[in-house]
Amino acid sequence: MIGFTLNGQAAEIAPDESLLSALREQLGQTGTKQACDIGRCGACTVLLDGHAINACLLMGWQVAGKAVTTIEALETLAEGRALVRAMEEENGFQCGYCAPGVMMSLVGLFTHTPDATDEMIRTALEGNLCRCTGYHSILRGAFRARALIKDRI
């Protein structure tokens, strides 16, 4: 088994198991969503050492010794708290199944680039599919989050 850090706690995964499957099936962390298994929808996005990556594309050996942050730990990050508040205000989501992936893509962006441009926000979300909203509500939430982060609200 391979050791890694999951939301600050020690965790283990088989070297050839996908991180997504380990999270949902072995570790009971079902906040990260499964929706395509081939990296084409972004619902399973997590942070790997702070960078947003699709958990379905990561195998155990690739997370050895690294820090994985999932939606369950979103609010341990200041940018995550701002994002939550902004998305609530803007009603960013509908069914909510894409939300964990969208939130992790955005928090990965904002922790590195709190003053991200509109274009950077759009690029960061290119790999996250949402079927309900048409994306505008998500973008409004992201823009609002950027303002909250800027004003340190």
Binding site: G42, I71, E72, N91, G96, Y97, G108, R131
Partner: protein, 1020 residues
């Protein structure tokens, strides 16, 4: 799978020599595995052995594509931005990408004349592609002064490449002094265009004839056809892309093809947005948990001892089953239950309209997703291993793939009673007389796609034995009508309904695709046989194969008007692909036929619709439900006749519009508060009709279409609802058995209950989506939910309020008449500050106030007819690309009239989301079938819009007022958004290029043909 981490490159190469595969980021391997390639036994991680980083023009092979994208390298950084998406590019490396041997970057690297550093020494990339050997350590670019880059895929971003066209060149003054051109990407093998380069070398850019250049590129490029695009399309795109990139595109003068309407001022419209909503904008009650990923979906259930289910699907699209042998699967350790049709004690059939679909196939499979057997085991691995041990002996049958051919007498029979599922005809007036009056006639066949619902949460959930004696069953799976799911399960299980409890909420999107039963029968049968809780969540690949889709339709429509533009005759002939089972497809066809004239009066009309069984998957309900398909045809016909008659799009519609108060299309009585004229006024005044700047590669156009959407199930089906209110545990409980699928049921219940009673949204608790706790409120479909919520509360509120006031009066020693409900409890009537004198949490639970009502129905019973309609106008501004033929939607605007808006955020969400789902239908989405098998396997081959595909602006307004005395409240919002966006975009494409696309999704190649022929006309 073994994964080695060698400490030297030599060690790595030694392992690779034994047959192990090198891996860096692994994205290429993952892609191959997703396409069905067998996973290797042994991977060798060479990532840590490769140089990582960028030094001037030399890039370490271990550098991620995302790092390269940000490095400002000539051409390559731009190219990396078009590969995958950022979250994948962080994992993918340049070395891995070259090692993979295909993909979008290779042509760019060829154009950059990349030199590789390998374990065998320096090698040009070209040599490596011909004869890959050694491990790639670094890549050195040799750029020229300028570059060309164009990736054309199937949508705006995050798409497989259809062709990548790229190059680098340098000039002195304007003479080409050096040049490298290449193509590749996806199915196109990487290729340098040497002959074209030789021809161009030394030429002066301004003197190159673009047509000559393009012809030479087309002659040189090798490109294959695939299910999505032809070879010819790929070559033409490459020719245009390189020609435009090299020579530039001279701005062409463009004139709008559609006459602009004169603006007529619309009534005051509510702008639907947070900014404009003010006090009306609330955070939806379900939002806090959704934004935190804290909402447990039914597919998230995990418990100790819970088994995992898997389903064995048909190996053929059409075959007789001779024998099923499950003995080896049953003997596998860890397997708790294996089920087949032999385990079905009740009726082995389901279907909302009629029950032609087996829960588990007995003697025949009719589509490739048909379930034959299922397994419950201790984990997914054991369950999958068990599936592989089930032996099914099939005798393949001929496959019915075309709905029209399926109706021929000689066609293979999908069901014993033939392939014609239903036929609906309607005639009015005298067609001969009508055609005699016609001066302008338009006839065409509009083709619509096999759209996939694409809900992000695939079908799934869990089931377990239930009840005091464990002789009942609890089934928890996302759905749209729990009580009907229960009824259907009771027939299959031969179990009284009372012993079955169905929990169908929350669900991660449905759009009609979870209206029919999905995994519920298998879940229930597995739980019953194993006596344990069982969970099951379809993979996307399985969902694509097995799930219902939108019925593809071919709509032949012939419409005539007189010289003034007045409609005089119309004939409509529809053939709809049912797929293997009926589900709601007969209802979809019926609804399409009911909307055959749109909101227009046509005295002489004759229509026929036929629905045919085929082996093309299975189809059923999908948002819009036939009406959006028919709107596409009729709303294009209106613009086409307008163009012939010299009218603008508003004028011809105004001329032919229904008159409020007149009977419906079938002669039925319809509800008041028609708002079509107001919608036309709003459309006439749209800023989208004005010109807008764009880049020279694009041609701009604007179009509009009217929405006219019937609500509810219609006259014939049962369309009942129960609803209840009560005070329990200090909260006002709204009990409503609809489902929360993301549309905002919970928010609407909070909004409507609090507004009606004068209490706070927080005072409300909702009980929904569970046959064990909520009443049967009917299906969450057909745009009926808003009405059910409004009517249920309207009917239960008065008695509920009376009881609360009486209880409070007794407690407070005040006459109830001096009291009223206020936020938080009961306050004094007439008091300025609504402070509760008695808080709800200090009150006893009330009785439950229940109501039961029918969704309002028309008086027409010869066929299915709607009584309530909702109205809107949809406008689109688009840009058609001269290089790719692709359509980019720049702006969408929608004016809606669906009565009072219950919850603004939910309403806005329905409109925006519906528009974009319709945009996908129009431009990119279709499940392609070949011989009864889907070509589409997952989201890599099904193109739902990404954030890059949606317009820059979407503006939504609402006209909320109803006629005085209109007793019917809010109209349905769920299907308006998708209702007319297709014809709005089609009409905008006409405005841009002068032709109406009649096949959805629009084929970029045919739009290129139109542009090419109009350009050649302009030249001659």
């Amino acid at each position: 799978m073994r994964i080695s981490h060698p400490s030297t490159l030599a060690e790595a190469e030694a392992l690779i020599a034994t047959g192990a595969q090198a891996v860096v980021g692994g994205t290429g391997h993952q892609f191959r595995w997703s396409q069905g390639q067998i996973r290797p036994d042994h991977l060798v991680n060479i990532g840590s052995l490769l140089p990582n980083g960028i030094n001037d023009l030399t890039i370490g092979a271990g550098t991620s594509l995302e790092d390269i994208r940000h490095a400002g390298l000539p051409l390559l950084s731009r190219a990396c931005g078009d590969v995958g998406a950022p979250n994948i590019r962080r994992l993918a490396t340049l070395g891995g990408n070259i090692g993979f041997g295909a993909g979008c970057l290779i042509p760019a690297l060829l154009a950059l004349d990349a030199q590789l550093g390998t374990t065998l020494g320096p090698r040009p990339l070209r040599d490596h592609l011909r004869d890959p050997k050694g491990l790639i350590l670094s890549v050195t670019l040799r750029p020229l002064a300028r570059s060309i880059w164009r990736k054309v895929g199937l949508r705006a971003a995050f798409s497989p490449a259809m062709i990548v066209s790229t190059g680098t060149f340098s000039t002195e003054d304007t003479r080409i002094t050096d040049l490298r051109l290449s193509v590749g990407g996806g199915a196109v093998l990487p290729q340098r265009l040497s002959e074209v380069e030789t021809w161009l070398m030394g030429q002066v850019l301004t003197q190159v004839d673009p047509a000559d250049l393009e012809a030479r590129i087309i002659a040189t490029v090798n490109a294959p056809s695939c299910a999505f695009r032809t070879a010819s399309y790929r070559k033409r795109v490459a020719a245009k892309a390189i020609s435009h990139g090299l020579l530039g595109q001279s701005p062409k003068t463009h004139s709008s093809k559609t006459l602009r309407p004169s603006p007529t001022p619309p009534p005051a419209l509510t702008a639907v947005s947070r900014q404009d909503g003010g006090e009306r904008w609330h955070t939806r009650p379900d939002m806090p948990r959704k934004t935190r990923g804290a909402l447990p979906y039914l597919t998230d259930a995990r418990a100790p001892g819970m088994l995992v289910g898997r389903i064995l699907r048909a190996a053929y699209p059409h075959a007789n089953i001779r024998h099923i042998d499950t003995r080896r699967a049953e003997a596998l350790p860890g397997v708790h239950a294996v089920i087949t049709h032999r385990d079905i004690t009740g009726f082995n059939g389901f279907g909302i309209v009629f029950q032609d679909q087996p829960a588990l196939c007995a003697d025949k499979v009719r589509y490739s997703g048909d379930p034959v057997a299922a397994v419950a085991a201790i984990d997914a691995q054991v369950a999958e291993a068990a599936l592989a041990l089930i032996e099914v002996d099939y005798a393949p049958l001929p496959v019915a793939t075309d709905p029209e051919m399926a109706l021929m007498p000689s066609a293979t029979r999908v069901h014993d009673n033939g392939n014609l599922v239903s036929e609906i005809t309607h005639a009015k007036g005298d067609l001969t007389e009508g055609w005699a009056k016609a001066v302008h006639v338009i006839e065409d066949t509009y083709v619509t796609p096999r759209q996939m619902h694409g809900f992000m949460e695939t079908e799934g959930g869990w089931a377990a034995p239930d009840g005091p004696q464990n002789d009942g069953i609890l089934v928890c799976a996302g759905g749209q009508h729990g009580a009907r799911d229960r009824l259907q399960l009771s027939r299959i299980l031969d179990m009284p309904k009372e012993k079955i409890r169905v929990i169908s909420s929350p669900t991660g999107g449905a759009f009609g695709g979870k209206d029919e039963l999905t995994v519920q029968p298998v879940l229930a049968l597995l739980a019953r046989k194993s006596g344990r809780a069982v969970r099951l969540h379809l993979s996307r690949a399985e969902s694509v194969q097995a799930g219902t889709k939108r019925n593809p339709m071919r709509i032949r429509m012939k419409t005539g008007c007189d010289a003034t533009g007045r409609l005089v005759a119309q004939e409509v002939d529809v053939i709809s692909d049912c797929g293997a089972y009926a589900s709601l497809s007969p209802g979809v066809l019926e609804t399409a036929m009911e909307h055959a004239a749109g909101p227009y009066v046509i005295e002489n009309i004759q229509t026929r619709g036929r629905l045919a069984y085929t082996n093309n998957g299975t189809c059923g309900a999908f948002r819009g439900f036939g009406a959006n398909q028919m709107s596409y045809a009729i709303e294009c016909q209106m613009d086409r006749l307008a163009a012939k008659a010299g009218l603008d799009p508003i004028k011809i519609r105004r001329l032919n519009m229904r008159v409020p108060g007149s009977p419906g299309y079938l002669g039925q009585r319809v509800a008041p508060s028609e708002r079509l004229l107001e919608m036309l006024d709003a459309a006439s005044s749209s800023p989208l009709w004005n010109a807008r700047e764009t880049n020279p590669d694009e041609i701009i156009g604007t179009g509009m279409a009217l929405n006219y959407q019937g609500n509810g199930l219609g006259t014939l089906p049962e369309d009942e609802a129960e609803f209840a209110l009560r005070l329990k545990g200090g909260k006002i409980e709204a009990l409503c058995g609809l489902d929360e699928m993301g549309q905002g049921l919970i928010a609407s219940l909070h909004a409507e209950t609090s507004t009606r009673l004068g209490v706070a949204r927080d005072d409300i608790r909702t009980v929904y989506g569970d046959t064990g706790t909520a009443p049967d409120s009917g299906s969450t479909t057909a745009s009926r939910g808003g009405y059910v919520v409004w009517r249920g509360i309207k009917e239960t509120a008065p008695a509920f309020e009376t009881e609360l006031l009486s209880q409070a009066g007794a407690k407070l020693g005040l006459p109830p008449a001096e009291l009223r409900l206020v936020p938080g409890g009961i306050g004094a009537r007439g008091a300025n500050t609504p402070t509760p004198l008695l808080r709800f949490d200090a009150m006893a639970d009330s009785a439950t106030f229940t109501t039961q009502f029918s969704f309002p129905k028309s008086d027409y019973t010869k066929g299915n007819a709607r009584f309530i309609f909702a109205f809107a106008a949809t406008l689109a501004r688009v840009a058609v690309n001269r290089v790719s033929g692709q359509v980019r939607t720049l702006d969408l605007e929608m004016h809606t009239a669906a009565g009072p808006v219950i919850d603004m955020a939910s309403y806005l969400g329905q409109m925006e989301g519906g528009l974009i789902q319709g945009l996908g239908f129009t431009l990119t989405e279709d499940v392609l079938m070949q011989n009864g098998r889907p070509v589409t396997t997952n989201f890599d081959s099904y193109m739902m819009p990404t954030l890059r595909d949606v317009p820059n602006t979407m503006r939504i307004t609402a006209l909320e007022e109803l006629d005085p005395g209109d007793p019917h409240g809010p109209r349905g919002a769920g299907e308006l958004g998708i209702g007319a966006v297709t014809p709005a975009i089609a009409n905008a494409v006409f405005d841009a290029i002068g032709r109406w696309p009649v096949v959805t999704p629009f084929a970029p190649e045919s739009l290129l043909d139109v542009i090419a022929s109009s350009e050649s006309e302009a030249r001659s």
